[in-house]
């Protein structure tokens, strides 16, 4: 790294202090990718336990289990962590392999739409099961 007063740097002192770079979000995606990874490692054991407990259930049995508060909260946490994680991961994959600017832009928009739709649909289903309507 060049010194803070290097004549070769075009970064302003304010930009250097903020440390967010050209993306304007700094390392937040990098950090959230790891944060959600650790969250999922912790949540994976109860989630696997929940899925196994309804392995052979009919709809009424599954609805009863998924609608109970603790199970619903664990599932919601896992869904939020996993979809946040996969949205960031897919963006990294797109940025690494898609070099055409237009296709890249469309892919990134599609990634955001897909992730948002999957997240909202899953959360809606859990909340509907929880409210029992």
């Amino acid at each position: 790294m060049s010194g803070s007063n290097s004549p070769k740097s075009v970064r302003t002192p304010l930009g250097r202090v903020r440390g967010l770079g050209s993306s304007h979000s700094g390392t937040s995606d990098f950090w959230r990718q790891r944060l959600t990874a650790v969250a999922m490692l912790l949540l994976m054991i109860p989630v696997i336990f929940i899925v196994m407990s309804v392995f052979r259930s009919n709809q009424a049995g599954v609805a009863q289990v998924l609608g109970s508060p603790i199970v619903a909260i664990v599932m919601l946490l896992f869904i939020v962590a996993s979809i946040w994680h996969m949205k960031i991961g897919m963006q990294v994959v797109i940025e690494d392999y898609v070099h055409d600017e237009k296709i890249k832009l469309i892919s990134i928009i599609g990634n955001n739409f897909f992730s948002a739709a999957v997240a909202l649909a899953s959360i809606y289903a859990i909340l509907k099961l929880s409210s029992g309507v």
């Binding site: 790891r34 009919n58 979809i83 649909a121 809606y124 289903a125």
Partner: protein
Amino acid sequence: MALSIVHRATGVALYFGTLLLVWWLIAAASGPAAYAHVQAFTGSIIGRLIAFGYTWALIHHAMSGIRHLVWDLGYGFKPSEREWLTWAALIGGIGITILLWIIAYAIGGGR
């Protein structure tokens, strides 16, 4: 070892696999008729293969992910350590997946 591309590939597979998760949750929230469709699919040969493959992708991605977290913390960079971590992720992923399905069929709850 070429395991980092497998980490990505399983990640992408899990990404599209969430459609199955959504289908399962929406069907459970919709009612018995919708849920019967999911059960018909997951009970079929193709459905079972996809469910098994999805489990492996999830467990492998998690094991391989732990390896990346270890590296993020600055450990495990010696050649012997790298090899050990990679084999542990590979064998652990397959082993835990098989174990989970044995447990699921043996004592999986419900009905």
